[in-house]
């Protein structure tokens, strides 16, 4: 078993128009790898833990970049880099939650190359799976992490179904909180999927983290005005402050009515294979003020129903703590 390190032989297609990219994606099907910023691509390929015969590089398609104002909010090209998202004045002003989340991804260089589309479509980080083992997610019939001795400190406390990996995206929870929708194109046309439905857990599809199908390309993300200029809270807890994926993250949008919370979206990351809406918390804080009393009253609403593994018990208090912090912050 070598420790592979060199990119394997592959063809490379560099379409300049989205139509050409869609035609290629259709023609090449699942033998092709659709390439955005590539930051979750080259490791897989160099390791030869996954292979493809060709890459369809979207970077030449200018229409996939940038932030546009629309009648009902904004539309962000899927190829917009995380740095551009974090620095974009419009997003910072109206949807600071998303700029905060984007600015916490990985490292500056990765944010300079990595894209929003890639960040929400990246694969799970379970190290067993990344090593190329034949686990459920890889088409096999076992899970290495969900065992009494599995090294599963980073794994899920919710929504496990054979696979216990979490979705590692930092921007995903923010987009779910903002009620974003994902614009997906293929040669057969366009479909719009709510961010909440874009991310899928293993019970629905154990081999994919998103609703994207072969031949489809995520072209943009739309964020409605619903939560524009709301009160936001974002926090990512990771081992190191650079590179590392979240142990738990929390993206919160709140509409205030004077001193009380009129409506809110609480979404946790890295606790499940998709961003986790905390509906019970949202219901419990409605009409309450942002203070210690409210925070205390939440108790373990966020963590109720968690199923812990051998090494991830800490995620239970951590998610509860982050909810409380979000309530009292600021």
């Amino acid at each position: 078993m070598p420790s592979h390190d060199v990119m394997p032989d592959m063809d490379l297609f560099q379409p300049l128009q989205i139509e050409d990219a869609l035609a290629l994606a259709d023609r090449l099907g699942d033998s092709a790898w659709v390439l955005g910023g590539g930051q979750d691509t080259y490791g897989w390929l160099k390791d030869r833990a996954k292979t493809a015969e060709a890459m369809i590089d979207l970077n030449g398609i200018e229409s996939l970049r940038g932030v546009r104002e629309t009648a009902d909010g904004i539309e962000i090209g899927a190829l917009t880099t995380l740095t551009d998202l974090a620095d974009n004045a419009l997003i910072k002003e109206r949807y600071g939650l998303l700029s905060s989340a984007a600015s916490r991804v990985a490292s500056p260089q990765i944010r300079n190359a990595g894209t929003l589309g890639g960040n929400v479509s990246q694969d799970v980080r379970c190290w067993y799976y990344r090593r190329g083992l034949d686990c459920y997610r890889a088409g096999g019939n076992l899970c290495y992490a969900d065992t009494p001795e599995g090294m599963n400190r980073e794994h899920a406390i919710f929504g496990a179904s054979r696979c216990v990996a979490v979705n590692p995206s930092d921007t995903g929870p923010a987009l779910v909180a903002l009620e974003a929708s994902m614009v997906i194109n293929s040669v057969d046309g366009q479909r719009i999927v709510q961010a909440e439905d874009y991310f899928v857990g293993p019970a629905n599809d154990i081999e994919n983290t998103t609703a994207l199908r072969t031949g489809e390309i995520l072209t943009s993300v739309r964020i409605p005005n619903t939560w524009a200029n709301a009160t936001f809270y974002f926090e990512k807890v990771a081992d190191r402050n650079v590179w590392d994926f979240a142990l738990v993250s929390m993206a919160v949008a709140m509409k205030m009515n004077g001193a009380t919370i009129a409506d809110s979206r609480f979404v946790a990351g890295a606790v499940e294979c998709k961003p986790r809406r905390l509906n019970d918390v949202e219901n419990a804080v409605r009409g309450k003020s942002r203070d210690e009393t409210t925070a205390a009253s939440i108790g373990t609403l966020a963590s109720n129903g968690a199923r812990v593994l051998a090494h991830n018990q800490y995620k239970v208090p951590m998610i509860d703590n982050l909810v409380k912090r979000a309530i009292v912050a600021g």
Binding site: D30, Y42, R48
Partner: protein, 196 residues
């Protein structure tokens, strides 16, 4: 951005399923260059590196770090992880810091590539960052240094007068195992003074 291949080939997967197993599942992918599909890229690519434009023969899947080191012999750009986890391979693309191990050379056509070798002036005068890093004895073992130099240069282009905290953020994508962070930060702050 659909980094998924549903027909996955987990070539290492076989090893734990039997008491005696075979390493290497025997999958060999034919050389793409000899069986190039219609519409796929040509290998010859025009690259502008450190102000010089040249035609280079580059495999479709080749990373920029490999092209720089093994085709253009620009060995200042270091490979320390080849996975975007350290920053030793950092170069500037149009003045923005990027990991050259995690970009395809074919994606860079038409953009200005600046490596550590390109920061010195033609007459040999050192870039202010290089000068300041010498004065502050910023490097230790030196293997991460070219990446730190390029990240610092890119930072000072975007923000010529950074606070120490901004400098720290700007260089945070460059790992230094020797732990010379403090001295690198001193170097960035001194370079900013030299520039102004």
């Amino acid at each position: 951005m659909n980094p998924k291949v549903t027909r996955r080939r987990f070539i290492k997967g076989v090893i734990f399923s039997a008491t005696a197993a075979t390493a290497g599942a025997g999958i060999y992918i034919a050389n793409a260059a000899s069986s190039r599909s219609a519409g796929a890229v040509e290998r010859l690519v025009s690259l502008t590196v450190n102000g010089r434009t040249r035609r280079v023969d580059v495999r479709p899947q080749e990373t920029l770090a490999h092209t720089l080191r093994y085709r253009l012999n620009l060995t200042g750009t270091k490979l320390a992880c080849n996975r975007g986890e350290c920053g030793a391979c950092t170069v500037m693309l149009d003045n923005i810091a990027n990991y050259s191990c995690s970009l395809l050379t074919h994606q860079i056509k038409g953009r200005e590539i600046t490596t550590v070798e390109g920061l010195r002036l033609e007459d040999g005068t050192l870039h202010p960052v290089q000068q300041a890093f010498i004065e502050e004895l910023a490097p230790q073992c030196g293997f991460c240094t070219p990446g730190q130099v390029v990240s610092a240069a890119a930072l000072l282009i975007a923000n010529p007068n950074p606070t120490r905290e901004e400098a720290r953020q700007g260089l945070s994508g460059n790992l230094c195992r020797c732990g010379a962070y403090d001295h690198y930060l001193n170097g960035v702050m001194r370079a900013a003074e030299l520039i102004s």
